[in-house]
Every structure is written in structure tokens, then in C-alpha cells.
Symmetry: C2
Subunit: 667 residues, 2 copies
Amino acid sequence: MSVVLTAVEGGFDLTIAGTLVMRHRPEAPALFVGAGRADVDMYRGNYFLSDRLDARVPLTRCTVAGDVATLSADGAPLLRLRIEGGAVAIEALDPSLNRLWLRCVAEAGERLWGGGEQLSYVDMAGRRFPMWTSEPGVGRDKSTYLTFQCDRDHRSGGDYWNTNYPQPTYLSSRRYALHVETTAYTCFDFRDPAFHEIEAWAIPARIELFAAPRFADLVGHLSTRFGRQPKLPAWAIEGAILGLKQGEESFARMEAIIAAGAIVTGLWCEDWIGLRITSFGKRLFWDWKANESRYPALKAKIAALNDRGIRFLGYVNPYLAIDGTLYQEAVAAGYLALRLDADAPYIVDFGEFDCGIVDFTNPAAADWFAERVIGGEMLDYGLSGWMADFGEYLPTDVRLHDGTDGMLAHNAWPTIWAEVNARAVASRGKTGDALFFMRAGFTGVGRYCPLLWAGDQSVDFSRHDGIGTVIRAALSSGLVGNAYHHSDLGGYTSLYGNVRTPELLMRWSELCALTPVMRSHEGNRPDDNLQLDDDPAVLAHFAAMTRLHAALAPYVTSLCDEAAATGMPLQRPLFLDWQDDADCWGVETQYGYGRDLVVAPVIEAGATRWSAYLPAGAAWIHLWSGERYEGGTTADVAAPIGEPPVFWREASDHAALFRSIPAKVNA
Amino acid sequence: MSVVLTAVEGGFDLTIAGTLVMRHRPEAPALFVGAGRADVDMYRGNYFLSDRLDARVPLTRCTVAGDVATLSADGAPLLRLRIEGGAVAIEALDPSLNRLWLRCVAEAGERLWGGGEQLSYVDMAGRRFPMWTSEPGVGRDKSTYLTFQCDRDHRSGGDYWNTNYPQPTYLSSRRYALHVETTAYTCFDFRDPAFHEIEAWAIPARIELFAAPRFADLVGHLSTRFGRQPKLPAWAIEGAILGLKQGEESFARMEAIIAAGAIVTGLWCEDWIGLRITSFGKRLFWDWKANESRYPALKAKIAALNDRGIRFLGYVNPYLAIDGTLYQEAVAAGYLALRLDADAPYIVDFGEFDCGIVDFTNPAAADWFAERVIGGEMLDYGLSGWMADFGEYLPTDVRLHDGTDGMLAHNAWPTIWAEVNARAVASRGKTGDALFFMRAGFTGVGRYCPLLWAGDQSVDFSRHDGIGTVIRAALSSGLVGNAYHHSDLGGYTSLYGNVRTPELLMRWSELCALTPVMRSHEGNRPDDNLQLDDDPAVLAHFAAMTRLHAALAPYVTSLCDEAAATGMPLQRPLFLDWQDDADCWGVETQYGYGRDLVVAPVIEAGATRWSAYLPAGAAWIHLWSGERYEGGTTADVAAPIGEPPVFWREASDHAALFRSIPAKVNA
């Protein structure tokens, strides 16, 4: 793709494929440099950042020579831009500079998508999005009482932009994409009608640009750039993964769920490492090895499950509890991140227990964790997958082996964590078979992480933290190169009396059946919340939805092939396949599940009917009624529990499969 | 006072009376200039401001010639400072500059007082204080449910720094004061241990400096600079002003309160202009003339009251309801502020009724309002005083007669509004007799406004919006030159079921008895809230407190004399009189009432005892028990309802008066 720098009127124009991206003029500069000091206030993964700004200097003077622009204010040159392939390499000419602002041309009606995994808005136009991996917040809406209580008591309410997985990359409806190559804090500000302003708390190495007339190709370029996942293993597609954490009792519960007609291909017991009882409730014991007092003879049981086509999954994160055995090994070997102010491990308080941080910038420590912990204790033990939790909490005042400043390491950590997991999987030849899933992410995470999960939704239908947010999360993360996405079936966070209703659990079963991986979760407070096997009607509905999921497997497998070939995400905004229908561009609560299905999950309580926009250029068949709809219309359909709104493309090669599904589900 | 500019190492030092205030160096500049655009979002007097910053340039180059410093970045000179007497005149040399940042030297342990009328903190050290007149907020504490509800429903919760009366002036414990002479938005940021940063959204005309070894003298200097009030009239000191707003029924209620033993010298009926019924409740009719259907024969009644030594007070604000008669007069004469986008009056929505804004930058309009409205309809009618409400709401997108930009006129408006009132009073020769009181303020308001009131507290004991805030308001506003302060007895704002308890009403009676003016208020929802005459015990207690207030009148009169002579506020931080006792410096919930009384009002619910710090250097007598305490100690005393903690200086000239008080109160 051709990025072109053209000297104009004392400044320059920067275009990609003929599209004007930056317009720099003496009286309206697009570039500013400066210096500031970050104020970082962190409480249990919730970050409150502010900048003590010293300088912000508009670079009003500019000389262009060939592919190089040299910029200054009144005096010495301060910044150099150099076109290198599809990117603009950036070099600060004054070492004191640690801030950059960049303005890109804005157009009326322009849509701006991406930003990593965004839970509240797929189209970011008109809003401001800080890019800093963190807890996503509980409630995420300052007008809700739940958010207020979380803010008041735990500083954890969050806001629309908080995410486990930010990424300083956007796609513009002007048919280009822009990526800021830095792990520093950045902020995308799309509020001004005249320009988009990107702020970076470091001088980024590069601004990378991508262009294509078709959005699908643009996504393909980003997938190529940021990493393309291996295909999902068949076992993860062909049945549900049950999340149970009741020690060996989990096995009996699984059998009962199977007996109720559910198709199960995985059992996920995050408590495989044992429990720790705190005043908050039951927590996991963060010492990454099987706890055979909680799960007697687990290794043999896993082998027996495997023989039945059911995989066993566990849990791990990058911390080590100080009262565990691995912590002692890591301390002895010098594998932990240190304090800035002492030659002692940096200890993080997780609420009545303390942990060390494995310093993955130390190659020996990363090797140890991949080989000894994940390889030796997990894969060799028989695990076929795990939740690779966290990654967002790296403190900024930490001393790392390779000397990276914490402000730059923080955002990089999720990708580093993913790489350690991927390396362990590869070491056992299990890539594409063993499956780990992460909520944290940053640029490049898709190169290592085979599956995202949408993080910790509240167990409700709320706009900014409920069931609907997982759709937006899939769409936004898919646009920047993550083909596979799923969520905790039933949601996770139950606080202040907010508990699952049967309706919520069933609607979430429907939604998860229509994502590549269908995995249940008992939530943070299992005993207070309805579980799938607590209520026969809920269980029967879940079983039916696992049959829906399984019935789709041949089609989903073809989507995995497509993803591997082109980078197209499985769940995708309608406009990726139906770009010429502008009415698709603003649709954020439906998705194309591949090109041949339109899915419009019910994400409101009390609904009995539901509306879905169907793209122009095709005819669509309602999965349950067989009713035919012309594209370019909004279908209003019955949507009782058990019949999530799904439409298939009449001309699909998979029409016979789709037509057969209702009978399989209702078997 | 000698401000000295000394060239040092490529920069300068700026001192006053030998105290280093600014230290400007190439590598650590104290001055920055820039440009930005304000984003202003306003909802019913609650403002949400943010800056779209284009440039912030450290002025690293400096040349000093005599009393002039010329500063630049790399290129042309950008800013000139010139010492002029006790001030630093500032001149921008580039007309595009509209932002200034100024850093002053900070010292460990430094205290920073003032900022106008601050309701949450008298000592501003460690926090950030925007200076923008606005609604003060309801709740003012993001951790309270009341604040949350107000934010959610009305955007009105506010925060610790919101105030009707900001003023960009601080006093430092380093024995100097600094004032920023501008009406633009400014912000005092006292969070950095190394410097205080002052931000201004315009280039201020001057930075004014004041110094004195004694804080009392520093306050005197500020009082001289910002205006010194006339003495309070005797009638305002010698009894209570009853706030009643029940139409002519108010007179009978007043008689009953007097009959219960209260000493009353004023009747304040804010509904003298009539009512308007809205869904919010009963509002006043904003057409400034007596409503003789609500108050039949009012003029004669006022005269009869005057004969008994009881003055009558009303209400006015700078708006005109569009369905009133004065609005039509103002429209016809062209006296209203206009819209930017049309030749039409700027209409403000006050909740089911609309108003025009009298444009006081038009001398004819200001004259009309002073002469025709306040003079003709109020003073000539017999009013001896009024609440001069509002002043904080001037929209920033308004077109004014003199062309002032709304961003600069907004903060100026309270002082302009005060001037109109003062001019009206002077026109009738009533200065020092007619008494109006304001909640809004800004630099210079004290030159015109004879009495502040603390605004609209919630009817509770809450830390940031309850009874205790009126003490901090008195202390902070007193430090910048406002000698007289009082509050709504009982508080004002009752929302979301928050209503007055008998205890609150009685503790507030105690507090008001010990301020120069004791004025009751029925609150925003009189019918939902306990009133003084609803409960015999509350009424008897109020009556006793009016006797306390009246008994103090000779002493308070002497304090008024002192204020007129020196600018010393009547309610004052203990350190003004007891500077050598450093333990006084942090006391914010007690005050010296003059030099001879220490008042420590009970501002918590449920208290039966109370502690008060007594300054070293004197001995103190507890008013009620006669118990003697050495200064430099904390006295813990019984504080039942009816005995607000007060201590008098044993050696006071007024000892006999103080000793006589308990008997008068309990008569």
C-alpha cells in the first residue's frame, strides 16, 4: 500500500492509496510534541491515570525532502517522519520529548471502528478512548447504582472505554486503517468534527497505515499484521465446555448435564488447583499444579474423559501466591519482578492474599513458566486448555529484568503473557489442539492467543456491562485481527445482590451457542446464583442450545478455514460482507456469523419478539420459522426462549445444513 | 510591598519581602504559554468545562532588564513581565496566546488558604481547585448516594471545589498572598510537592503579590485590595431575621415566634413577588415587584413593622421571567443579553419557566435595574434588604452589549450584579442600612456586597454539603476580604427524602446565633421539612438562640468597627489572631469570633460532648459552665442542645458581657 508524503504550503499531505490521512500546515499543524509526567493511581487493576503536562509544542515548521519530513517549532528540529513502506517511522530529535499528539483528517459521518476489544461502542466516533489495559469495570455506566456502589467501595465501577484489551488501531469508514506502534499509554479522541487526535505518552516507533477498497480486505491486512490464529480444534466447536468448580463433584454434575441431553466436549474446572477461602468468597489457590485433595485421581479421570471425547481444562495466571511452592522456586531462581525501591520481589495484594509477578522479560523466567509450569504441570498432566487469566495488572512502578519502564511494559504484558502460553503449547506439539483463552490483550496478542473471551460481564442485561457487550467485544476485536471470540455463558460478576435470572441464563445460552466456543461459567458467586443444572427448564434449554452449537459445527469449521486463509473473524459486523449496504454500517448488536448467517441475539429482558436488520443483496430465511425475508429490510420475528433470532442466506452452500437444524435442536 | 525580580542563571527569581515566590530557570521554567479552546457544557448552572489544548510552550529563554523579563521558547519573544509596584504585569507578545501556566515555589508543609468561598477545604494544599462560579452542587461528594442521584438525574451533584464564589487568590503560610487578576477560568493546582501550578484560560493582566509577617495584616491588605464592606446595620445584628414565605400568613407566624420569646428584627419573605407553581414545587415569580394579592396592603404593613424595629426583606435576581411585566419593558428598551446566533434575547430555561438576562454591561440597562427595579420597586416600597440571588449562571455563548466574550464575562458577573445592587442602595442613601446578601461572588465582590451567605447546603450533617461547610465558607471567604458571612438556618436543599431533623435545625440555630446575621430559611421544600414553629421545643430553643445572638450585639458591633478599620473578618481562622500557635493553623471547623471568642459549633449528629482547641497565649472560659481552660489545650465539654461550645478570652474587655450571657439566654 502506497503511503505518499507531499510537501504542500509549508507543511505536507500524507495519503494512503490516495486517501488524505494527515494534513499538516503551519497554521493548522497535525503534529505536536511535548513532555509530561504520568500520575498513576492503581487499585486492584483499576487504573486512574492523569498527565502532569509540561509542554505541548505545535510543530509549525516543516521541511520535506523526498520521503522525509523534518519538523520543528521555532528552533532546532524536534521530530522526523520517514515513509517506510506502509508506515511513517517517527524519530524524536530531542531526547526530552515523551509526548506526541497526532491529528488525522476527520470527515462528517465518518465511522471509526476497532480500538482492540471495545465493550460499549464498536463505532468510536464522537468519543474518547484511552488505550490502557485494565479491569473493565463493573457496571461501566456512571448512571447506574451498581457502578456507583462499585466505585464507592472498590473504585471498580469503570466506564465505557475500560477494557482488558485495548489496541491503538482504528479502521475508518474512509477505507483506511491506522495503527500506532507503541506500548505506551495512548488515547484516541474522536470528538472533534475537524480531526481525530491521537495522544501518546511516548514517541511511537511508527504510525502504520493500511488501505483497501473493501473493509474485509482491510481486516485481512490487519490480521496479517497483528497475527492470525491457528484453527480452533474440532473438540472446541463440536460441543459445549462446561464450567464447573465444585471439586470432584463436578464430574457427577457433568454426567447429569449430559444425561439431560447436552452435547459436552469439555469440562473446565478452574478450581483444579484448589481453593482459598477469603472474606470475599471462595478464591482459587494460585500455585499452578493439580490439587489432588480437591480432585482425587484427577490425571486418570482426565484420561478417561479424553477417551470419551471430552477434554479437561484448567486455569492459570501470571502470578504466584507467596504461600505456594512455585513462588519459592521462582524466588530462589530470581524469576520475579522486583520493587523499584528494594531488592525484593514486588508483591501484589489480591485481597487477603499476596502474590509475586513472574518477570517474563527474563528469558529464563519465561522459559521456566512455559516449560516447568504450563508444560510440566498442565499439558503433561493432561490438560487440553485453560483460562489464561489476567495480564492487565502489571504495576507501573515495577523493576523488570530487561530494564523496560513499567509505563511501557504495562500494555505489552498481555501479549507477552500470551506468548508464554503459546510457547508452552507449541513445546508439546499441541498448537491447534490445546486451547487457552484470554481476556487481556494488546497489539499482537492474536499472534499467540488462539481465543479471546469477553471478560467479566455483570449477570444482567445492562447496556454497558451486560450480555449485549459481548457482541460488541467480538465485533471490535474481530476487526483488528482476532478471529475467535466467546464469553462466559451467564456472565460473571454478581455483586450487591445482582444475580442471574433464568431468563438471563437462557438468553446467554442462546448467544453462546452462536459463537465458536460455547463455555459456561458459574460466576464469581456460584452459590448465590442460578446454575444451569439448578432448574430443569434451564437445563433442558441449555441442552437444546448445545445441540444448536454442535449442529453448526460443519459450518463453523468452514469459517475457521476462511479465518485461517483470510483473517476474517467468525463473528463480524454486517458491513464486512455487505459493505455496499450502508444501512449495515451502524449495526452493533447483530453480527454476521460468517457470510451466511445473520445472528441477532435477544439481549433485553422480557422480549418475546425481536427485530433484525437483514443486509441487502441477498434473501434470508428465518432459522426457526423458515420464513423468507428480502435483504434490505428489518425482520420482526417471534423470539421466544429457545429460538434465538438467526437468519440464513437463502443461496448459501450450507442451506441444507441450516434447514436441518431446528429438528436437531428440538430432538 | 517590594516585589523584586532578579536575573539568575538564564532565568529569574521573583521575591516579595524577601520570600521566593517564583524561580524561573531554563531547565525548570515557571512560565508556560499556549493556546486552547474551551469546551463548555452547562446544565442549569452546573458547568462541565474541558480544554481542547493546542499548545503549551515552556518559556525556557529569558532576558531580564531592570524590572522587565522577556520570555520566549526558541524564537520570537512571547511574554513580557514587568514589575509594577506589588504586582507583575503580564503582556502576551503573540496575540494567538490564550493560555498561561505559572508555577510558584512550594514548600513541604506549606498551607494554602483562600480561593474565594471554599465549602470543603480551607487549606487547599494537596488538591486542585478550578475557579469558575457555578452551582455549588448537591452532596458534593462522589461517595454519597445523594450526590449520585443528583448527578444521575440533574447533573448537579458537584464536587469539593464547586462554589458560588471562587476567587483566584491564595494566602500561603509562607506569609505571602498571590492574586491572579483575570476573570477567565483559572485553576489552582496544589498537588505537586515541588510547585503550585496556576492555569489561566487567558493571559491575566497581572499577578498581584502581598506580604506581611502577620497573617492578620495580609488579610488586611487583601481587604483593602478587594473591597471593604460598610458596617452591618444595628438591626441586622440585634435580632434574628425570620425567613417565612407563606404569603400574608407569614405575619401571624412571626408574631407567634416573637410571642415564644424570640428576638426578631427582620422578616424576610422571598415570596413577596408571588409564586409560580411548577412540578418541582412552588417557585417564585421572577418579576420584581410586590405581589399585593399574595401580600395585601404590604406597603403599610412594612411601615408598621418598621415602627416596631422590625425590617422587611425581599428577594431579587438578575433574570426576568418572560411572562412578567419587567421583561416586556426590558425587551422594548433593548436591555437584555442576546443570542450569539440571532438578534433575539438569550432565554434561559429555569425549569418550566423561561427568563431573559438583564445585560449589565449596558450602562442603561444596569441603571434601569438599579433605579427602576431595585430602587423603585424595592427600596422605595419599603424593603430594607433582600437576597440578591444568582449571578453564577451567565451562559458563555451570550452576546453582551459591551462585546465582552462570555468566557470572560461569566466569572465577572457576580461582582457586576453586586455593583448594581450596591448602586441602588446608595442611590437611596441606604448604604450601611439596607442589607442585601449574595451567594455568588468573584474578585472584588466585597467592594459592593455587604454580606455573603453560604449558599444552598443540604439539610444534613454531611461532610461536604451539610452544616459544617458554612464554617469553612466563612473562614475562606473571610481571608480574602469578606468580613461578614452567614448561612441559611436549617440548610436549604431537601431532595430524595433528605429532610431536616429537629437536631439539625437546633444545631443550625446555635451556629447562626454565633454569626453576625442570624437568618432562618424554610428551605426549598417547606412543606416536607420541619420548620422552627412546627415544634415547641425547637421553637423555644430558637428563641433562646436569638437571645444569645442579641446578647452578643455589643461585642459584634465592636467587631464591625474592627472590620471597617482593618478588614479583619468577624469569623476568622484561629491563626489570624493566634499565629504563633502553629496548632491553630489546621483548625477548620472552629473559628475565632473576633479575638475574644472561640466558637466550635456542634456539626455532627448525636453529639452530647464536643472538643475544641483553645489557642495558646491566653486562658479561656467556657461560656456555659464558666470552667477555665489554659490555652494550647483541647477542651472537651458538655455540648447539649442549647449550649453550643463557646469560650471567651479571660482577659477580654468584654468579659462582663460574656459572663452575663447564660442568664440572658435562659431567661
